[in-house]
């Protein structure tokens, strides 16, 4: 707890670790506000504020700097600065050694670290399994960045293979760390890979059959390489966690039941597996669906306020997210029969051995 607080406090004073200048807002003075109406009769205001900053690091440390900033009520891409906020700066020194600067971005690391500390704290309160999950997450993050670098290095060539291989490694590492090395893990691994691969193949078949009709890969965000294989890789990665979650949930719950009742038959396990699967498949598909859809809100609202119809806005912003949700959903459903079947074989034998 104390360590966590110390880490959060540290980030408030970590400016010295930054290579680029960091400033803290010491005073804000509001100047004029003008009313604006755009082409679509949206009313907004533009306000100019004078922001006084103290530089916290580098050769100009301790010096004061005044920057003029303009923000709107919407704050779509601009920011209204407040006292005590820390910002990243770009500083220029002119011939007379007078400094001027612009604000590049807000320094957000303190909040991020505070949230991470909260998460780790909760994991510690909930003990061991959580910590192992965290370790697997850390390993996965490192592997993820290695894979991304590899993809950049190969200029996007073979992106699906890189991330397909990565999924196998992710699944193995995560399951071994979370569940340990046992039959539950093997069953979950096989179910996860089976479900993911099947859903991706179905997705690719449908794309081919319909000649990508109704798919607008050009609307994909942040694309720097061939979009279609990238989209499939994103879908695979996005669903992998959920498919793994599903497989593990079913197999762990079945294991609990087998442990509580040794006399259970293989047929009953299969039935229970389907019952558990049935009740989580909908919610689990909704998890990904909510994540994929929520991310489009800002753009959707911008489109609608810019005089576009809702059909067009959906097509441009939500279309690919919907396809991604559907392919993920297919994987999530297919995992149920696979996991139940595997569980009724693997776990039953283990129960007999225990008895």
């Amino acid at each position: 707890m104390i360590v966590g607080l110390a880490v959060v406090l540290f980030t408030k004073y970590d400016a010295f670790m930054y290579q680029q200048p960091v400033g803290q807002v010491t005073k804000v003075e509001r100047q004029q506000t003008t009313s604006e109406v755009d082409n679509y009769q949206n009313h907004d205001h533009q306000t100019t504020q004078l922001v006084e900053l103290k530089i916290l690091n580098g050769s100009n440390r301790g010096q004061k700097l005044t920057v003029s900033n303009q923000y709107s009520d919407s704050q779509a891409m601009d920011n209204k600065y407040r006292v005590n906020q820390q910002v990243l700066l770009s500083i220029h020194t002119n011939r007379h050694k007078k400094i001027s600067g612009t604000i590049l971005d807000i320094k957000r690391d303190t909040v991020v670290v505070a949230l991470i500390v909260t998460m780790v704290g909760l994991l510690i309160i909930l003990r061991a399994t959580g910590l192992r999950a965290l370790l697997s997450l850390a390993v996965n993050v490192i592997l993820f960045f290695i894979a991304v670098s590899l993809d950049v290095h190969r200029q996007g060539f073979g992106v699906l293979w890189i991330f397909g291989l990565l999924s196998l490694v992710f699944t193995a590492i995560t399951l071994v760390l979370v569940l340990g090395w046992n039959k539950k893990t093997i069953a979950s691994f096989l179910a996860t890979i089976g479900g993911s691969a099947a859903s991706l193949i179905i997705g690719m078949l449908v794309f081919t059959l319909t000649h990508n009709q109704g798919l607008h890969f050009e609307t994909m965000e942040y694309v720097t390489q061939n979009p279609e294989p990238l989209f499939l890789a994103e879908t695979l990665m996005g669903a992998l966690g959920a498919v793994m979650d599903e497989a593990t949930d079913i197999i762990v719950s079945l294991d609990q039941i087998v442990t509580a009742n040794h006399k259970i038959t293989g047929q009953e396990i299969w039935q229970s597996g389907k019952t558990i699967g049935q009740s989580i498949m909908g919610p689990l598909i909704n998890v990904l669906f909510m994540i994929f859809m929520a991310d489009t809100f800002s753009l959707m609202i911008l489109y609608l306020r810019n005089g576009n119809g809702i059909g067009y806005a959906i097509q441009m912003n939500m279309g690919l997210g919907i396809v991604q949700s559907l392919i993920s959903g297919i994987g999530i459903v297919l995992v149920i029969p696979i996991a139940s079947m595997l569980a009724s074989r693997f776990l039953k034998k283990e129960a007999i051995n225990h008895a």
Binding site: R108, L123, I276, I291, P337
Partner: protein, 252 residues
């Protein structure tokens, strides 16, 4: 003429009905209904209704749809629903509190291409839309965790009816541990898998660690993962508490 979305929807519906019969059909329906609620949510906010109020109402309907339509077991449904309401209350407070410090509203520099030719002065506060985005993005995860926890416990109580409250608690936390462990992965992959392109962008354009840890889009995504995760973690003890209260009420 069927397009890609149509065919994939039919395949998904078919598979869900095959596995769950009528329950599977209801699950599929819940996804469709949630989509309509989301569209209505967006439409109302775009018309200028207060985002937080609209979103909280949408959240209630989405939780109810996801939990009650997705599952045929009434007992575990109600438990899960009450637990998610408690979690939602906590998360709303957390998200509203975090909006100021996070300042991740609207769009980042990486979005510039998507925004070409658009008016940004649309008179709607994007900070409120971000609150809405964050709240909605947690709903799936917390209802999923609550249902998994409640269903697991209810199945367990059914199989061995002579379990004591202490044993239920123990099994509850045992199921909970694993749910939390795997939920972390669902969320992590769910958020970041979808942003593979963005990460490739960061690496390609040589973002420094500082530029990336403070980046608007990255921070908003990681904040959503962490908030959702906090929600999932809270779901476990809160579900066990709801089960205990309900068991006590049933005995009396």
């Amino acid at each position: 003429m069927l397009n890609t979305v149509g065919i994939l929807s039919l395949i998904l519906a078919g598979l869900m009905i095959w596995i769950g019969r009528s329950a599977g059909f209801r699950s599929f329906l819940s996804i469709g209904i949630n989509f309509l609620i989301l569209l209505l949510n967006i439409r109302l906010i775009a018309w200028g209704f207060p985002a937080l109020v609209v979103t909280l109402l949408s959240a209630l309907f989405i939780l109810a749809t996801t939990i009650f339509l997705g599952n045929s077991n009434d007992q575990s449904n109600e438990t899960a629903f009450y637990a998610t309401l408690l979690v939602l209350a906590v998360l709303t407070g957390l998200i509203v509190l975090l909006q100021g410090p996070l300042s991740v509203q609207g769009f980042g520099n990486e979005n510039t291409e998507d925004l070409e030719g658009m008016s940004l002065l649309v008179g709607i506060q994007f900070q409120q839309i971000m609150t809405s985005t964050m709240l909605i993005s947690t709903l799936g995860a917390i209802s999923e965790a609550a249902i998994a926890e409640a269903t697991g416990l209810t199945e367990l109580v059914k199989m061995g009816s002579d379990l004591t409250t202490a044993e239920i608690m123990k099994h509850g936390f045992s199921i909970g541990h694993e749910i939390i462990g795997t939920a972390l992965n669902t969320l992590f992959f769910g958020f970041f898998g979808g942003f593979l392109g963005l990460f490739i962008w960061y690496v390609k354009l040589n973002y420094h660690f500082a530029g990336f840890i403070n980046n608007k889009i990255f921070v908003s995504e990681i904040a959503m993962v962490l908030i959702s995760f906090i929600g999932v973690a809270l779901t476990v003890p809160l579900t066990v508490i709801v089960i205990r209260i309900r068991a006590k009420n049933l005995r009396e």
